[in-house]
Every structure is written in C-alpha cells, then in structure tokens.
C-alpha cells in the first residue's frame, strides 16, 4: 500500500480523491510543528492557489482549498536547499518566500505576516526544521522508527561480496590494517590488497596517497583475474617525489594478473587539472617511476564544474521550457557532455579489463567522486550481478558508501549553507549514467526507472540513514545502522514496485554501451517530471506486464491440460496397450 509508505510524490501536485478527509499521512514519529491558513502557492504551471501550509519535522505540506479537485504539495524537508524571504512585505502585509529544492524545482509562497510580531511565522518554523543540522537538532532519519519485514542494513556484507568474486585467493588477501580506520579514515575497514605487500608497506603507501587512500581492489575478473583497483592521487608534488612501496604495490597489482604485462592507470581528471594539482603537493604517476604502466587521462571535470552544469540545467528545464531554443539551451549546460565523458571513461576501463585482460588503477584527486562514478559504472558493465536490484544496492554500499563518497558534504543534509562549495551532484550524475544504460539495454537491468528515481528522492529526503554521513567510520560512530532505517529495508519490502518486467537474467553477460551522442538523451522523466505537460512512457511496461500475466495464466492452463491429458491417456492405455503416452513438451520460457 503506497499511501502508508514513505513515497515521494512523482508529480508536483497530487490530486486527492476524497477531499473531505484530512489527508496528511503522518509517518511514525512525525509531528506537526506549525501550520497556517491563507497561504498562497504561486504555482508556475497553473498560477496562484490558496490553501493551508503545514510543517512537520519531516515534510512541508501544502493543501489547496480553493480549487476542485483538491490537491496537495507534499515534499520532504530534506529536499530543501534554501528558504528565504523575498523582498519586503507589501502594503497589505504580504510576504513572499522562495523555496529552492535539491530536486530541480523552486517553489514560491505568499503569506501574510502575523500581526503579533512575537508569533513566529510558519516559514520561520520551516527554516528551523528544514535545516536541523544548522539548528543543532537531529535529522528525521534518527526519529523515524518504521519497521519493515527486511533489514536493509544487512544487504551488504563485504566478506560475502568479495567471496562471491572468489576472494581471497592466491594473489589477493584481506588486510586488517584499516580495521579501526587508522590508516585511512575515509576507507572501509575491509581492504583487499596483493598478498606480496605487507601491512607495513601499505602504511608507507598511505602517506604517499592523498588522504591515505591507497590502491585497493574493487573488483576482479572471474576468468582473467584482471583487477579494478581504486585509489587517490599520488603526492608527487612539484619536486616529483617517489615512493618505492607505492611503485611496488602497483607492480604487485600487475603481477597478480598473469594475463597481462601491463597496467593501465586511469586518471579521471583532465591532464591540465592533474598537473595543476602538483602545485598543491598532489599529482599523478610518472611513467618513469612506474614501469609497464600506462597513464590515461579521462577529462572529467571537477565537482564545481558539475555543480554549475546542473544549476544551468535547472534554469533551462524549470519551470518552463523555452521552446525555440530548447536544444541550444540544453547544450549550453554541458550536462550531456559530462554524462558522455563519464560513460566513455567507464567504457574504456571496462574494455581494458574485459577485452584487454589488463588490470586497471582508477583515481582522481581524492578518489571519492569521479573514481566511484567510473568504477561503479565499469562494474555494472562487467558484472551482471550489479544489474540486479540487490546487486545494485551492494554496489552502492560498496563503491559509494564504504569507500567514503562524501554524501553529507555533497548533498548538505540538513545544512542551511546552500552556497557550500562542497556540494555537487556527483551521485545524481552516476544515476543518470545508469539510466542512460538502461535505455540502451532495456532488458539487462532488474530494476526500473522508478527504482532510480526513488533512490534519488531518498538521497535528499533524510528519511533513511543510508546516505547520511561522509564515511563508514562516521556512520559507525553515529551508530547510523542502529539508530536509523535503511532505504533498502523499504525498497526490499516492496520489490514488485521496482522490478523491470522486461528483465532477462543473463549470467556473465558484459554490456558495452554506446556513448555516441545520438544515444544520450536528457532524462526527461526525472529532470522535467514536475512539469504537468511531461508525458511519462510507462504504458509500454504496463502492456508488457499484462502480457507476462497472460503468459503465466497460459502456462498454468497448459499444465492443467497436460495433466488431464496424461490422466486420460493413462486410463485409456490401461484399456488398450501400446497407445502413445508421451505428452507435449512444455513450452520453453526465457525470462
């Protein structure tokens, strides 16, 4: 039942069937903090509507009262990045408030200031509860106590996942060197490294890699043993420092794969940026120091460029689209260009591993933004397990969460500092790339588009603990798994909503998407979903589901008839000896 679940609405304005009912569906522990009547919502699509505004510790809820049908606006406070008063009060005492959201929309309300200046306006309450971290309160995720049949915190077990990949083996071992996060506080506790490298050597390497993020194994090819290894940049600096343990480690990584005598190092950055990093003590591997290694730059830009690109995209798609310049406006955001570069980079990595049987090391500067984008996309291409619903969850838990993508900083959960330069839509870009792949391989992914959108909605909602904090260590310290509910608890308790009916499970099937520009398109059903004129494409899937149901029914019917035939046959053959009893072979199924 969706109504009781924490569903973020997929259209801006939800129409209510029974307006007489009070339809604010409060979640467990959700409490109304304030409400006001006579608030006007300036809807960019249908114009101003009057109604009441309610603020709880989880959401903002606007219920329109002057229109038929009655509808509401319902969004989690976590999705707000900025609430501000616009201009001064009008002569009639009306004040305008702008609400900027993380999910591509801007809302605008008009409200009469309370006459009693001691009473707080509902918007002041909103500002307080929208940014609990800035106001020394806890995020709603720590209050929310819904119990789901499945515990999503158990989805990812690092040892089980590496075991699935056949690890440890003769070349790769588990290292306990980061058990208490003393080697690298942004890395997970469980690390896989070549057997020939000692923990002591790893400690030395950690001082040579930015933030101590040493090269460790992310994935290993089940046949060729070619490995995907991730790291941060080397601290080469202007003087060209070297570290023999680091060189040894990369040599050991190469040696662990007997198939190839080469190692590819993919530096996600544009070469200019990588070079500029030398000024700050960073840099990249020189080919002199690392024999047999080939360095490739992938030209992906940094978090600031990406943030700016999304900001422009928001201007282009919300609220209204300039018809005559749609494509050139889209172009000016460079969003698709960035998507293309990320996908192309991941494709090169996957191709080197699969076709070249060569191990690869992937890094950017700190190894927690572009690196997980590239490794996780390459892994999706290489390993069909990550294209299942649970496999995708494991991938996110592993490549993004355990390896310390700084979700708290990049999203700014509960923080009112909306201009923070650490915010960036890195994870959104990754999900966009996954969506692009699902367009090209509609039958290769177990999950549907709604699954991806749900993940993005709850990236911001702060309802679940999954995307809180910056690292595994922080999450343990804050006892996030104990004190909050995992998004996967919710998802895995109603899987049918997220299943792609077209999915065909091909084990060991590698996907190489085309990254040609003709194949990349704007994810309209995410970025433009608030526009009421956006037409979703669901019906095809609906039709497919109908066909699947029909097939199941037919298969049942065939079985029944076969059983009946067999019975008749048996009874008749008992009368006449030698009549044929072989029944028609059951029809093959492929899904």
């Amino acid at each position: 039942d969706r109504s009781s679940g924490p569903r973020v609405s997929d259209t801006e304005l939800r129409v209510y069937k029974d307006p007489s009912k009070d339809e604010l569906p409060l979640l467990p522990e959700e409490l109304v903090q304030d409400s006001a009547k006579d608030v006007t919502y300036i809807c960019p699509f249908i114009g101003p509507v009057r109604g009441s505004l309610t603020v709880t510790n989880y959401r903002l809820f606007f219920r329109c009262t002057d229109r038929e049908p009655v509808f509401g606006l319902d969004l989690p406070l976590g999705g707000l990045s900025r609430v501000e008063k616009i201009g001064a009060a009008s002569s009639r005492g009306d004040v305008s408030y702008g609400v900027v959201c993380k999910d591509m929309r801007n809302l605008r309300f008009v409200h009469k200031e309370p006459e009693n200046s001691l009473k707080k306006s509902v918007f002041e309450v909103l500002m307080k509860f929208a940014f609990p971290v800035s106001n020394n309160m806890s995020l709603f995720a720590f209050e929310y106590k819904q119990v789901f049949p499945e515990n999503g915190w158990k989805v990812y077990d690092p040892l089980a996942e590496y075991k699935r990949q056949g690890l440890p083996n003769e070349s790769w071992r588990i290292s306990k060197v980061n058990d208490h996060y003393e080697l690298c506080d942004s890395y997970p506790a469980t690390l896989f490294v070549p057997v020939t490298i000692t923990d002591e050597e790893l400690r030395r390497v950690s001082s040579f890699r930015a933030k101590g993020r040493i090269p460790v194994l992310s994935w290993i090819h089940p046949e060729s043993q070619a490995a995907v290894v991730r790291a941060s940049q080397t601290m080469v600096g202007q003087n060209g420092r070297r570290c023999k343990e680091d060189e040894k480690l990369l040599q050991a990584i190469m040696d662990a794969n007997a198939q190839s005598h080469k190692l590819f190092i993919f530096d996600a950055r544009p070469s200019v940026n990588a070079a500029a990093n030398k000024m700050k003590g960073g840099g990249f591997e020189s080919e002199d120091a690392y024999q047999n290694a080939e360095l490739v730059f992938l030209d992906i830009h940094n978090i600031h460029v990406m943030r700016e690109s999304l900001r422009k995209l928001k201007d282009v798609v919300y609220p209204n689209i300039e018809e005559s310049h749609w494509l050139s406006n889209l172009e000016s955001t460079h969003w698709l260009e960035h998507i293309k570069l990320i996908l192309a980079g991941a494709l090169r990595i996957a191709d080197k591993v699969e076709s070249g049987k060569t191990s690869v090391v992937v890094h950017c500067s700190d190894g927690w933004d572009r690196t997980p984008q590239l490794t996780s996309l390459a892994l999706i291409m290489l390993d069909s397990h990550y294209r299942t619903i649970r496999g995708f969850q494991i991938l996110l838990e592993k490549e993004w969460l355990s390896f310390g993508h700084r979700f708290q900083q990049r999203v700014g959960h509960g923080d009112k500092n909306h201009t923070d330069a650490d915010r960036s839509p890195i994870f959104l870009q990754f999900i966009d790339c996954v969506w692009q792949m699902t367009r090209q391989f509609p039958a290769a992914f177990e999950f549907n588009e709604y699954f991806l959108i749900t993940i993005l909605d709850h990236l911001y909602s702060c309802l679940f603990g999954t995307f809180l904090c910056n690292s595994e260590q922080q999450r343990l310290k804050e006892e996030v798994p104990k004190r909050t509910v995992s998004l996967w608890s919710f998802v895995n308790s109603q899987l049918e909503e997220f299943v792609n009916p077209l999915y065909v499970h091909y084990p060991s099937h590698v996907l190489f998407p085309t990254v040609g520009i003709r194949h990349l398109q704007l994810w309209v059903s995410y970025y433009i979903r608030w526009n009421p004129r956006m037409r979703p494409q669901e019906p095809v899937h609906q039709r497919y589901k109908e066909l699947l149901a029909k097939r199941a029914e037919l298969q049942k019917r065939v079985e029944e008839l076969q059983r009946e035939a067999a019975n008749r046959m048996a009874s008749s053959s008992s009368e006449r000896a030698g009549s044929p009893t072989r029944s028609i072979t059951p029809v093959q199924t492929f899904v």
């Binding site: 689209i321 018809e323 310049h325 749609w326 494509l327 050139s328 889209l330 172009e331 460079h334 698709l336 293309k340 192309a344 090169r348 191709d351 699969e354 367009r439 090209q440 391989f441 509609p442 039958a443 290769a444 065909v504 499970h505 091909y506 084990p507 060991s508 099937h509 590698v510 996907l511 190489f512 998407p513 085309t514 040609g516 520009i517 003709r518 194949h519 433009i528 004129r533 956006m534 037409r535 019906p539 095809v540 039709r543 497919y544 699947l548 097939r551 037919l554 298969q555 065939v558 008839l561 076969q562 009946e564 035939a565 008749r568 008749s572 044929p580 028609i584 029809v587 199924t589 492929f590």
Partner: protein, 613 residues
Amino acid sequence: MEHIRTPKVEQVKLLDRFSNKSVTGTLHLTATHLIFVESNSTSILHHHIASVEKLSLKTNGCPLLIQCRNFRLVHFVIPRERDCHDIYSSLLRLLRPVSYDELYAFSYNPKQNDQQREEGWQLIDLAAEFERMGVPCDQWQLTDVNREYKVCKTYPRDLYVPIMASKPIIVGSSKFRSKGRFPVLTYFYQEKKAAVCRCSQPLSGFSARCLEDEHMLQAISKANHNSRYIYVMDTRPKLNALANRAAGKGYENEDNYSNIRFQFVGIENIHVMRGSLQKLLEVVGTRSLSMTDYLVGLENSGWLRHIKAIMDAAIFLAKTVTVEGASVLVHCSDGWDRTAQVCALGSLLMDPYYRTIKGFMVLIEKDWISFGHKFADRCDQLDPDPKEVSPIFTQFLECVWQLTEQFPQAFEFSEWFLIQIHEHVHSCQFGNFLGNSQRQREDLQLKERTYSLWAHLLSEKQNYLNPVYSPSFAESHPVLEPSTQAYHFKFWRNMYHQYDRSMHPRQSILKHVLTLKDSNRELEGTVQALKTKLQKFSVSTSPLNRKEVQQEEDEEVFGEEAMEDAPAITGGERTVEGSSATENGYGELMGSFGSKNEPGAVTLEFGVARMTC
C-alpha cells in the same frame, strides 16, 4: 543493357561511414541495381540513388560516393580509375530515367497473375472509405463534376461536396482557386457532423472576390448545424500569403465571406523544408561529432521545429473539429503539400481507424495520392527539377513516428512500416506513388502494368505490427492529444540512420515484447492443441494423431524478426553485448583521440533494407 559499360568490378572497398572500417568485395552493376557482394550482399536500387560523386584519386584507388534518398550513404573505393569512371557514368545515365517506362515498376514482376495484381489494386477503395465516414449523407453528396478531370486536373474523379453546392457554384469556385482546386470534403467527423475540407489558395489578389466561392464556403458552413462558423486554416506563414497577393493569389478576406474564422498556421514552404533536411543530414552525417555541434546543429537545422509546426496545425484542426464541432477548410498555396500534411495528420489524430495498418494505407491513398501530392516531382522520380524536390511526405511520416513515440499503444503498426513506406515512395518499384496525379496514373495504366505496394505490405503485415498496440487504448482514446513541448520531439535515428548499423543499440523493448507475444501465441496454440486432443478422447478413445497436433503448433510461427534476436541464455560463458571498443560511439570517441581502428566485418543491411527487392 546499353548504358552499362562495366558490369563487374572486383576488389572494391566499401568504407563504413562512421568508423575506419572497410570491407572488400565485388561490385556488380545491373539494369536496376548496384550490388556489392562480400560475405553478405548490399544492393542499391538505382531509383534510390540521389547523387553519385567521383572524388579525386587516392593512393588506394578512386573513391565513389553514392547518396541515396533513403538516407543511405555509400562510400566505395575502386582500384582502377577507369572502372570507377565507367560505373560513375553508367550510373549517371541509369539514375536519370527519361521516361516512365524506364521506371522499375514497369519491369518489376513479383510472379503474380493478373487476377492477383487486380486484387492488389482493389484493396483500397476510397468510395468505401467515405461510406465508412458516413458520406454521402443528407448534407454531403458525391459530385461527378470532375469525371473527365475537366474542372481540376490534379483532383480525383470522385469528389464530395455539400448538398447545396450546385455545379455552377463548383465551377465558379474552381475558377477562383489556384489550379482549380476548389473546396472539397476530405474527412467527415460523424459524431459532430463536422467536415474537414481542403482546397488551394483563392485568386483574390488585393481585392478580387468570387460570389460562387463565397457561396461554396457558405454551403460548407450550412452543412454543419453544430457551429455557426467555419474555420479557414491557411497553413502558410502570413508573410508568404501576403506575398502571394502580388501575384494575384492570396487568402480569404474575412469581410467577404460570412461566418468564417480565418487563421494562419505558419508552416514553411517546400524550399525551406528541403534546405532544413539538408542541414539536418549534414549535421548527423558528420563523423566525430561533438555534443555541442550535434545539439546546436540539430536546432539550427530547424527540422524538429518544422515537425512541431505541422503537428501544432494538425492538433488545432483536430481540436476545432472534435471539441468545437466546427468544420474546417484547410489550404496552403496549391493545396497539395502542407494541406495534405495537415489534413492527413489531423484525421489521424481524430480517427483511430487511420492508426491501423489498413487505415493508414487508406489515409495515404486519400489525402496524398488521390488528391494529387506531386510524388513524381517531390521525390525526384523522373528527370527532375531540383526546385520541386522536397521531403514533404517524409515529414508527414516523421510526424506520425513522433506520435507513435508519445502514444506507443495507439498504433497498430511499428516504425518499420513507416520506414518501409518511405523506402517505396522512392523505390518506384510499385505503381502507387508514380506520377503527380490520379489522371496521370490512369494515363500510365499503372493498374494494368504495375503492382500495388499495399498488397505487398499486407502480405508481410507480421513484420510491421506494433507489439504493444492495444485496441482498447484506441477505444478509450479516440482522439489523440499529443504534447508539443520541445523535448517531446526527438531525432528519428532509425529513419535517418537506418543503414548505419553501428548507430543503433542492440536491445529493443519492442523485440522483447514481440518475443513474449510470440511465446504467448505458442502457448495458446498448445492450449488449443491440448483441448482438441482431450476432445478427441471424449469422442473416441482412439489414440491421438500426434502429427496433426504438431502441425497445428507449427502454424503459429511469428515474424522472423522476433525469433532472430530472441535472447539466449548462456551458461557460464562470458558474453559481450553492445559496441566493441572498435565500433560505434566508442569508435567515434577513439577517432577523436587519433587512434586507429582495425578493420572488421560490417554489413550495411539493417532493418527493412533486406526486404527491398
């Protein structure tokens, strides 16, 4: 054949358009086709060739560039210059037939007898179509005024006009209309008794009037009791219509006609459309295209904007008729290009019948063929005037495709049906699209001497079915209301890149639905077979004839397309899908990095290509 100097050249290289790959094979030149044979063969009908270009000699031979009207671009390298020149000059002659008799349709023989051929031509019956709409009726009648093509040479014989339009009114009105194309009925919306009529521009100049023409419009208006007004849609931009006045043509003056509502729609003329498509093809044909060049180029070509303009006009037409219940008169200049686009697309939005395979054929036969869209001129069939060539019909097909994207369940046919029609509009293999008017087609005795495309397409109907078509959707959505927000208009990759195999993704939802439908069909067959078997048991206890059952199952074979790429489950073996590093988009990217790709196998055959000839 006299024009063929060198029928065969060996060691010819065929280069892939978007990668550095090439294949070597033998090139054959026949009277009707250019055939390239390697492991699989590529054949190009001469009629499909738009231009041949001999490029300057290179070290590995002489390049020959062939551009086709179905958006295929073939790049051969022929080792010896003399051979190249022979092929080049033969083609130049072959692709410019000087008389209709030289067209492929007159030599094409699908091994059918005369009766089959006749039946093929009888498939589409426009009189029956008007009957289906409810015409003739108390307000609309069939007129024989054009029986001898005397009133209008480019109209069909059978025309439907309001009861009140007498012969003198018709004749008078026709004299006041460009090319004599007076207002006649093309679609009748029975539910509201509203009519869609079409004509050409009035010869109004700056002040001329014609009482008969005014009566004609009044007669159309009076035939519909639902609305006091009729709408007159001039599909041209206002500026163009104004310019026409100087030439003694123009548009209706609202003061002279009682109860009309006049409206400009703003679809550009054939020259603008020709230029726009050219720009579009230039952009998408560029190798190593950057995202910026692509998006900006797509926008600057204006192509999708023109598609939107046509769609907007059709939506306006459909709304006026179905919601307001008013009759609409549509015209442009001569009433055979934009008018055909808008009337046909508008009818398609209003009537689910036109969204079926048969209905779509009827629609094309009615609004395009019978009302004299100049296929011969626009599609460059015979000794052409380049100024007359224009992708007007292609635009119509694309509009329909854009609709199929927005309403995947509303159409009985898939895009391959549209692409196949497009293929044959240019192939001159069937008689349907030859010539410029019905009269000319009769003179050419096409029905006696050529075959009908519709029969051919219906015989392979299975290939063109849209697996997600839902007749119940059509019932619940009789009138389609598409959105024309800019982001709903997409580049039609499968049309403009239909032969660029590397441009297409390998998995399609439609294929999967087809496979599933196929499997359901098989199951239904099995159920049926089992039922029959059980019935036989109950009738007699004699053992079942297994062979019979088997046959019944075997009959349920679906389009080969579906089977071909049915997903196979592989065991533990690793399989790769999609572009390999040397192919495709990745190749594009590699190209920009300056690295070389090794040659590999490539086939130009894709999709419908192999169904031709």
